[in-house]
């Protein structure tokens, strides 16, 4: 089944060229190069501390790389502020749910429409003649995402009071309502039970299909990675140690060694 998903001629969407990042003495990313094709679900795996999140943070502008280049749809994005990169069409979720805790589920997802809205105090003051039209128009868009991710029953709840599995789904909804062309998911299934995981996989596949997304996903559940990712990049200690079709890459001896050590260590 997976073979059918691979389209041979991927037009590159995101290109990282020799990306390096230091945090003082720690060399967190060492000359990592990767090309992600349009419409692909690309996995990023590796042991803890291997630099997966750092790479994602470099792409989304939190920790711009000190060396190397990152191109999105042919345009250089390293050095841009995070909000510029968001406006450019990259949305992401966080490893530890980063929802706005003072808001309802609906408001959180509406926040994803921010880049299309024109927030302005005067528009708020003259709500009935000015802001209302815009609010309603974006509410319609958000309701489509709520439909897609089946969040109808919780949309008016505070994000604090819903379970973690749903919170992660809300975060995905927020990212999707920004209508990104590329979606970056940082451990979307961390801390989930099997059922929630299956839902999440379904939603990621649905969203990717419905919106024609390119997805970069960090995930520790290897069953998920092999099931949905066309290709993966394996990082260890900040360097890329394997890249290729998911099954092939994670059975690479170097990758096995990085995760569970060498056979001679076992003794």
């Amino acid at each position: 089944m997976m073979e059918g998903r691979i389209r041979p001629a991927h037009e590159p969407v995101l290109v990282c060229e020799n990306v390096s990042r230091w945090f003082q003495g720690v060399h967190a990313l060492k000359n990592v190069s990767v090309t992600i094709g349009k419409g692909e679900i690309f996995g990023l795996v590796g042991p803890n501390g291997s630099g997966k999140t750092t790479l994602v943070n470099a792409i989304t502008g939190f920790y711009p790389p000190q060396q190397g280049k990152i191109l999105f749809e042919g345009k250089q994005i390293n050095g841009l502020k995070p909000y510029r990169i968001a406006e450019g069409g990259i949305a992401r979720t966080f490893q530890n749910v980063a929802l706005f805790r003072g808001m309802s589920v609906l408001d959180n997802i509406l926040m994803g429409r921010h880049i299309f809205m024109r927030p302005n105090p005067l528009a708020s003051l003259f709500y009935w003649w000015w802001a209302q039209k815009e609010e309603i128009a974006h509410r319609r868009k958000v309701e489509e995402v709520i439909d897609l991710l089946q969040l109808e029953s919780v949309r008016d709840e505070h994000v604090d009071v819903i379970p973690l599995g749903l919170q992660k789904r809300v975060e995905l909804a927020r990212a999707l309502s920004a209508e990104p062309r590329m979606l970056v998911l940082d451990e979307p299934m961390a801390g989930m039970n099997q059922e929630e995981k299956e839902y999440m996989v379904r939603f990621i596949l649905d969203a990717q299909d419905a919106l024609g997304l390119t997805v970069l996903i960090i995930e520790h559940h290897m069953d998920v990675v092999t099931a949905i990712c066309e290709r993966v990049l394996v990082l260890n200690n900040g360097s890329a140690i394997a890249e290729g079709p998911a099954r092939q890459a994670i059975s690479d001896p170097q990758v096995v060694e990085a995760y569970i050590g060498k056979t001679r260590d076992a003794a």
Binding site: T60, G61, F62, K81, P82, Y83, A86, E87, A91, R92, F94, A98, L99, F100, R101, G102, M103, D107, L110, M111, G112, R113, H114, I115, M117, R118, P119, N120, P121, A123, S124, L125, Y127, A131, Q132, E134, E135, I136, H138, R139, R140, E157, H158, D160, V161, R174, A175, A178
Partner: protein, 357 residues
């Protein structure tokens, strides 16, 4: 009971975002609005002028500050200075012959520009450092007002407000001044409620809650913090002008000293951060409770329950008042607004016990 969600159906997104979707809330707002409109007819001028009028104006001030502190999460310990800028610029504009309506807007703009200049400088820092930076604003503005005779009218001077009219109604009578203050606080409250349901308010709350997550969905934190400073200072400036023209009618720099800034922060905290009803309740609490306590203690002493020296009488209410504030911060950090909300939720789910949040 009277609070019922049953029967409240939304078939359009417009009604789902109405300010008060529950009928019982609408009734309460209508009754309070009617009472406020009718107040000059049934309240004595003492109560109207010395209790209700300052309460309304300080509520507007607390709401202006809570936009910045509650929604955007930026601490500001120099808000009295912002109001001082508004008060002094409106007086000078009015003396210069500018119509009062424009003088009010001018006061707001002056306060907003100066306030956001300090804001821009202060926004490179967070938390306690921001408090220090806004404190610096308080002292700088105080110093400038006191030491520039063109602004303060000379050292230790009192600047009287010229007599003006608003929309052809002269502000000579107490009820005219009351209605102007009422109109302003109503406008501020409605603005605040609308901000909370539009993209502007959401962007501010997003920055307050998780600034990195806000950035990653396209919010420019610096820009929105600055907008919060601008909007809040504008409202604070106009409120300062309304305070000067409707209540004090003669201003001195001491009326906008550091103590006042702290009182404003207390109003916002006791009332509940980022809440409209909290703004009103907090301002009422901070203004009126010391007066009520003093009267209460004096009354009990007069009735012969106990004897207090006049020295002690001056301090006991302050001590109780301080204890009350500490009590609030300990037992209900979300303030009076949360207590109101709890009571409302109790009735909403009655006869059951639990609501979900």
């Amino acid at each position: 009971m009277f609070y019922r969600l049953a029967g409240v159906h939304h078939t359009r997104y417009e009604t789902a975002r109405a300010l008060w979707p529950v009928p019982a809330d609408r009734w309460q707002v209508a009754i309070v609005a009617l009472l406020a409109l009718a107040a000059p007819f049934f309240l004595s001028s003492l109560y109207l002028g010395s209790y209700l009028l300052p309460w309304l104006i300080w509520s507007a001030a607390a709401l202006s500050l809570t936009l910045l502190m509650g929604l955007a999460g930026q601490l500001h310990f120099g808000f009295a200075a912002v109001m001082a800028i508004g008060a002094y610029s409106s007086i000078h504009l009015a003396r210069f012959g500018v119509p009062f309506e424009l003088a009010l807007i001018g006061a707001g703009l002056t306060a907003a520009v100066i306030g956001s200049l300090f804001g821009a400088a202060a926004l490179r820092v967070k938390g306690l450092y921001l408090v220090m930076a806004t404190l610096a604003m308080q002292y700088l503005v105080d110093w400038v007002i006191i030491n520039v005779p063109a602004i303060s009218g000379g050292a230790q001077a009192t600047l009287r407000t010229p007599s003006v009219s608003f929309l052809f109604i002269p502000l000579d009578t107490l009820s005219a001044r009351y209605y102007l203050a009422l109109g302003w606080v109503a406008l501020v409250a409605i603005f605040f409620l609308n901000v909370k349901r539009t993209s502007f308010g959401r962007a501010l709350v997003a920055i307050r809650d998780k600034d990195f997550a806000a950035a990653v969905i396209g919010v420019d934190p610096f820009r929105y913090k600055l907008m919060a400073f601008f909007t809040s200072s504008f409202m604070g400036g106009v409120t300062g002008a309304v305070l000067a023209f409707c209540y004090y009618r003669a201003v001195t720099p001491e009326q906008f000293s550091f103590n006042v800034s702290i009182q404003l922060v207390a109003m916002v905290l006791v009332g509940g951060l980022g809440s409209v009803i909290g703004g009103f309740l907090g301002a009422g609490f901070v203004l009126l409770v010391p007066i009520i306590l003093t009267n209460l203690v004096a009354g009990m002493a007069a009735a012969g329950w106990f004897t207090v020296s006049s020295n002690l009488l001056a301090h006991v209410p302050l001590m109780i008042y301080g204890a009350l504030i500490i009590g609030f911060l300990l037992f209900e950090p979300l303030g009076l607004a949360k207590i109101y909300d709890n009571i409302r939720k109790y009735f909403l789910v009655w006869p059951f016990r639990h609501s979900r949040s």
